[in-house]
């Protein structure tokens, strides 16, 4: 059986003393899989993504990432796991006063690569997302689509084991959405597990082999049980 990269066991999440926004999430995502996370607004998609990119801890249950139980992991151990995750935020979260080059180079600098080691891969990545000539531009001078691509380049520059993208096509036209999807599937083919939160049905149908995680009112809807018991080979079939 393919090993799980993400495993949730009766995970719940609440903010402060409010009601639970996620309840009894129970699923496994296999290494090398391509997953879409869908559901209506307020279903808890963003909260689930926050758990996945370690911006939140579950308030109950067990959550494993890369085979390690992280529900109660020490704060000091989390950066090591975060470096294995590439995140594309819906609002990009680019650093406004840094150039596109520096934004993309940031993860490499954080893992301690020297400037000589950074230059080549960052230029290559910017060319890959079609922004080679915009390397010195700052985010406020870039269009929404260009910012989106800088965010994607930043997320994939370290070849993470897991990519989490929140509405990565939300700010771009259809042609750019197709291009972004192409980037993500290319990463997936190289072995990276991809989780994309989206409302875009076209994006989902254009990705054969992807599985679906559907949330409704904080509860996982998994009628086929494929997430609880994923297929032996990634890409063997869609869950819905």
């Amino acid at each position: 059986m393919t090993s799980a990269i993400v495993e949730f066991d009766r995970v719940g999440l609440r903010y402060g003393t409010g009601a639970e926004v996620l309840r009894d999430l129970d699923f496994r995502l296999t290494e090398g899989g391509f997953y879409f996370l869908t559901g209506p607004s307020g279903a808890g998609k963003t909260s689930l993504l926050k758990l996945l990119y370690l911006a939140q801890r579950p308030t109950r249950g067990r959550m494993s990432l890369f085979g390690d139980e992280l529900s109660h992991a020490s704060r000091e151990s989390l950066p090591g796991y975060r470096r294995r995750i590439g995140v594309v935020f819906q609002d990009f979260r680019l650093i406004r006063h840094l150039s596109a080059f520096d934004n993309v180079a940031l993860p490499l600098r954080i893992i301690g690569r020297s400037e000589q080691e950074i230059e080549g891969p960052v230029r290559e990545m910017l060319a890959w997302v079609g922004l080679a000539d915009r390397a010195s531009a700052r985010p406020p001078t870039l269009s929404g689509g260009e910012q989106q691509r800088v965010a994607i380049a930043r997320a994939v520059i370290v070849h993470p084991d897991l990519i989490i993208a929140d509405e990565p096509t939300g700010n771009v036209d259809a042609a750019m959405a197709e291009r972004i999807l192409h980037l993500l599937t290319a990463m997936n083919r190289l072995g990276t597990t991809v989780i994309v939160a989206t409302h875009d049905v076209g994006l989902i149908t254009a990705t054969p082999g992807a599985q679906l995680i559907r949330l409704e009112k904080g509860v996982l809807v998994d009628p086929t049980g494929a997430l609880r018991h994923p297929p032996a080979m990634p890409g063997a079939g869609r869950a819905s």
Binding site: H97, D102, R109, I110
Partner: protein, 288 residues
Amino acid sequence: MSRLFATEAERRLIPAGGIRGPVPLLIAIMTFVMVVVAAAGLALANTSSVVKVGVENRHSIQINDGAAKAPAAMAAARSQPGVTRVEQVPPEELRRTLERWLGPASSDANLPLPAIIDVDLDAGADPAKVGTAVEQAVPGARFVAHSTSLEPLLKALRGLSVLALGLVLLVALASAAAVVLAARGALDTHRATIGVMHGIGATDDQVIRLFVRQIAIDALMGGAAGAAAAGLVIALILGRASTARMLSGAPPLGWNDMLLLVMLPLAIALLATQVARFALRRALREDL
């Protein structure tokens, strides 16, 4: 190995001047106060110890009812082992001293003058034995240690030195508090950048490095300016008539003291850096 300061590329994450604000000025003022107060405290402590050493083997014989008995008292003192000098204070000098209180009346031949005899002992001498010998030879004579007379003054000087040390510590504490506020303010200003860095996998040490270099530079610049201003004030004061020099015959601040004062701004910069590091780490721990 983790570096102490951020690299050029890392520094671009925090725009230049992003955390300066009033910190250098504040540290300059605090350093100025600290150096001046520390210099005053050291000068007082030095004066106190020089005066104490100067008088610790010096005594006087006081005979209230006249100079006629002085030779007998002097002979008794000289007969004791460890007595190095016995010398009567000339009556003219006593009259000059009394003139400050009595005016021209101090020259009146009928004015009864006490006899005062200075007695120096060496370190091994027993003052009690000398005193007993003098008092037996001249009943009514008093053998008094100078240190006893000066004890209230020495106590006051020591108290002022301790007060100066307390003030230095208090100002250092206020400086540390100011740095904590500045560091937290800087952190809040750059919260979004720090959030992105943490999300990508930056450690707290990497985030702290971005700020510590600037805080160290601010503290050093402020400290140097404050210390320079304080040095000027101290030089002006020392250049004028010094009570301490008159009392002790020695300069109130030695080379060791100067070195200590020069080290103070460096210590303040180090303190500011460490306090900032600690405050930033605590603040960062408030988030996951």
